[in-house]
């Protein structure tokens, strides 16, 4: 039950926390932490203006994207160590559900027929082309060390235990790779600036330039939920399996990730657009590195 509650209520808090941290770092009074919720509530009560060049896809895409992301979130362990649904190899379905959501977001962007949305769609889909192999290779590393089972059992049996140096090394590599994927998927600073006002530089924001009202609310919620999915994966790896009051540790983990993202955003500038593609390769190389280390160890190298 906690799982459903977290999926419904927690996601919009994460962007609120990040903007709060950025405001404090810079000395602003800044928005309240619950500002995304207020935006969501206001957008629900507004009408929608639809572009005349939009076809059925614009009406379908936001709803299907949220449905797909919601179902993907069911497999991710949030709150307690086991997720709602889990079967052997469910992480492949989760990954491809997120890909389905992204595909329909790209179709909705291209549907409006303006060059900005086309640009955002092209960037979004090419930057995340490298994330699918990266995620599966990370999962391969987990599968190699603990056998082929479902996502929640993989994550819980893999968590970092301080004493054993091996799990520390592999844990940090996996967490860093997952964190980079979080930054790319939720379009945070080194890749894309969420509250920039320049349509030529946006990636995620420009894809929804033509959506308004209820559809826009769904899109904001979907983006926040996707960020929560990646944050929960990282937290799950960090929390030791047998930790008591797992929910408290989980919330602290999410808070920590939000603060870390806020710090990264206020101390770094954005990368040039073609440099982004090179940086997206880093999670892939990291996961291969983790795998190579695992194989070497199992071969008795040390």
């Amino acid at each position: 039950m906690i799982h459903i509650l977290i999926i419904l209520l927690l996601p919009l808090l994460v962007p609120g926390l990040i903007s709060r941290v950025k405001a404090i770092m810079v000395g602003r009074i800044g928005q309240s932490v619950f500002q995304p919720y207020f935006h969501f509530a206001k957008l629900l009560r507004k009408e929608e203006v639809i572009s005349s060049s939009a076809s059925l896809i614009t009406a379908v895409a936001p709803a299907l994207a949220l449905a797909a992301t919601f179902c993907a979130a069911l497999f991710v362990p949030m709150g307690n160590s086991a997720s709602l649904f889990s079967f052997k190899g469910d992480f492949i379905l989760m990954l491809y559900l997120l890909a389905l959501a992204k595909a329909f977001m790209v179709f909705a962007a291209l549907d409006s027929g303006s060059s900005f949305e086309g640009m955002g769609a092209s960037r979004e889909i090419s930057f995340t082309a490298f994330l699918e192999p990266a995620f599966l290779l990370i999962m391969a590393a987990l599968v190699f060390s603990t056998g082929f089972t479902s996502l929640s059992t993989l994550l819980s049996s893999y968590s970092i235990s301080g004493l054993e140096v091996w799990s520390l090394v592999l844990g940090t590599i996996t967490v860093f790779a997952l964190y980079l994927m979080l930054l790319v998927e939720s379009a945070r600073v080194p890749f894309d600036d969420p509250n920039t006002h320049l349509e030529l530089t946006m990636i995620h924001e420009v894809m929804v330039l033509d959506l308004s009202g209820f559809s826009l609310a769904l899109i904001h919620y979907t983006a926040a939920l996707k960020m929560l999915i990646y944050a929960s994966l990282i937290t799950q790896v960090l929390i030791p399996a047998n930790a008591s009051l797992h929910l408290l540790w989980y919330l602290i983990g999410i808070l920590g990730i939000a603060i870390l993202t806020g710090l990264v955003e206020s101390l770094m500038a954005r990368f040039r657009m073609n440099r982004n593609l090179e940086l997206v390769l880093v999670p892939v190389t990291l996961s291969v590195l983790a795998l190579a280390a695992l194989i070497a160890r199992s071969m008795g190298a040390w």
Partner: protein, 478 residues
């Protein structure tokens, strides 16, 4: 004549052939045009300047309404000849880019008939960033021809801010047009107002008082706007630390100008003959303390920003403007000085003779050079203001009495605004009423630099290049 501002009683009107022949001799001698325009009375005027010396030429309209374009010899004439064709229908034959500037060409009937250079190959697509931009800036249409993310060609259509300032100047009493002069370009309110006041004082033949306070006002506006640009540049690369620190510093500087004249943009500070609000000794003391505090903080923030590797990776090597292009296009201000062109109205046409001024320049010509030059110029202007404050001993006198403008005189004033060299010109008719009033904002020429610089860069770097120039739409559209 090398005095600035200067005035001429009814100059000799040459035949057009002799006019163009002397003009090409001046071009060969290295002169570049400050202004070249036609007047409703059927006369052509041109002011040619070269590091300190100014030449005014006047001629009748060419017979047959067309002539071989001067912009084939030197590209600096392109914008002026387009304006001439647009306003008076005199066609410069062989002009490389004869398109509308503010309204529409004689053949077309409305502003949106402007045709852009288009490419037929389907692989190239066009991106149109329209008059209403995503941020809070002025309207203008940018048409990119792109190969994927790389820009092949940028074409800029302005004219959306055109509200006929030059016609408004002719309505009513010319000596009470301070508010209009300040509204030519709000961010250069003091620059344009100072040029207007100097022009009126030259027409009425008087010498203004409180020149020290005027210099302080001009330099404080320069510091404020350079800080605003550094903040906007940091915002465009999502470096929010720099954005907020520089924005707060700018607020400190313009609040101190509010403390003196009541307007953050210095909008009611100057008037023909002197200044409306003088700086008392107490205010001078407060001003010196705040500016010294601002100076140390500017140094800290700028050093931190220019040392940040992710910021440098965006600024370095983006949007390079070559020295030859800057000279041939006749660019002024930060745009030119960042490419190594040593041209500054405070050095070439000084208002008072004893101050020797050497401008800073960079020679890389990329976004980093323009940002770093803004930082250095802001510090230089702060030093000028502080030295001006030390020199003054007593409060400023009341503004001088103006009297009536002299008849049949052409006057011209040149001021170095924070964007570049501002030129105001006017002519009074036989009874002392103004016949025509001509204004040049440095953005009129500098917009061509942005179009040139964008070729080959990624389209996502356009906002930084645009903000590194930070040109005025209303100054160019008038």
């Amino acid at each position: 004549m090398t005095r600035n501002p200067f005035s001429v009683q009814n100059p000799d009107q040459l035949e057009f052939l002799e006019f163009s022949e002397r003009l090409s001799r001046l071009i060969a001698a290295g002169y570049s045009p400050l202004h070249y325009f036609g007047t409703p009375q059927g006369l052509l005027y041109s002011i040619m300047g070269k590091s300190g010396s100014l030449e005014l030429l006047c001629s009748v309209f060419p017979t047959g309404g067309s002539y071989p374009a001067f912009s084939q010899k030197i590209l600096a004439f392109t914008m002026f000849e387009r304006l001439l064709y647009e306003e008076y229908g005199i066609k410069p034959e062989g002009h490389p880019w004869l398109k509308a500037v503010r309204k529409h060409l004689p053949g077309q009937d409305q502003h949106s008939d402007y045709e852009f250079l288009a490419s037929e190959s389907p692989a190239l697509h066009e991106v149109g960033v329209g008059p209403v931009h995503a941020g809070v800036i002025e309207p203008g249409h940018f048409r990119f021809i792109c190969k994927g993310e790389i820009v092949e060609h940028l074409e800029i259509q302005l004219g959306y801010q055109h509200r006929g300032v030059e016609e408004l100047m002719l309505k009513g009493d010319i000596t009470r047009k301070c508010s209009l002069a300040e509204s030519i370009a709000g961010d250069t309110a003091i620059g344009h107002n100072l040029a207007y006041c100097l022009l009126i004082e030259e027409l009425c033949g008087i010498k203004a008082s409180a020149t020290g306070t005027r210099n302080i006002a001009l330099e404080m506006e320069r510091v404020a706007m350079h800080l605003a640009d550094l903040s906007a540049l940091a915002a465009d690369v999502a470096y929010i630390m720099g954005q907020n620190l520089f924005a707060a510093l700018r607020t400190t500087v313009i609040n101190s100008s509010l403390a003196i004249c009541g307007s953050r943009f210095g909008k009611r500070w100057l008037c023909p003959g002197g200044v409306n609000y003088s700086i008392s000794t107490a205010q001078a003391e407060v001003l010196r303390k705040t500016l010294q505090g601002v100076e140390t903080q500017i140094i800290d923030c700028a050093e931190a920003m220019f040392a940040n590797s992710s910021v440098l990776s965006r600024f370095d090597d983006t949007g390079k403007l070559k020295f030859e292009d800057a000279v041939s296009l006749g660019l002024t201000g930060i745009t030119a000085k960042a490419s190594g062109v040593m041209a500054d109205a405070r050095m070439d046409y000084p208002l008072d003779d004893e101050s020797i001024f050497i401008p800073f320049t960079e020679n890389a010509g990329d976004v980093y050079a323009r940002a770093h030059l803004r930082y250095k110029e802001a510090l230089q202007s702060l030093k000028l203001v502080l030295s001006e404050l030390d020199k003054r001993d007593l409060d400023d006198p009341l503004p001088q009495e103006l009297g009536k403008p002299r008849p049949d005189t052409i006057a011209c004033s040149i001021v170095e605004g924070w964007r570049g060299c501002i030129v105001h010109m006017a002519k009074t008719d036989a009874i002392g009423k103004v016949e025509w009033y001509k204004i040049v904002d440095p953005s009129l020429m500098n917009w061509q630099a942005l179009a040139l610089v964008m070729r080959g860069t990624g389209i996502s770097d356009f906002p930084i290049c645009n903000k590194s120039f930070d040109l005025s739409y209303c100054g160019s559209d008038l």
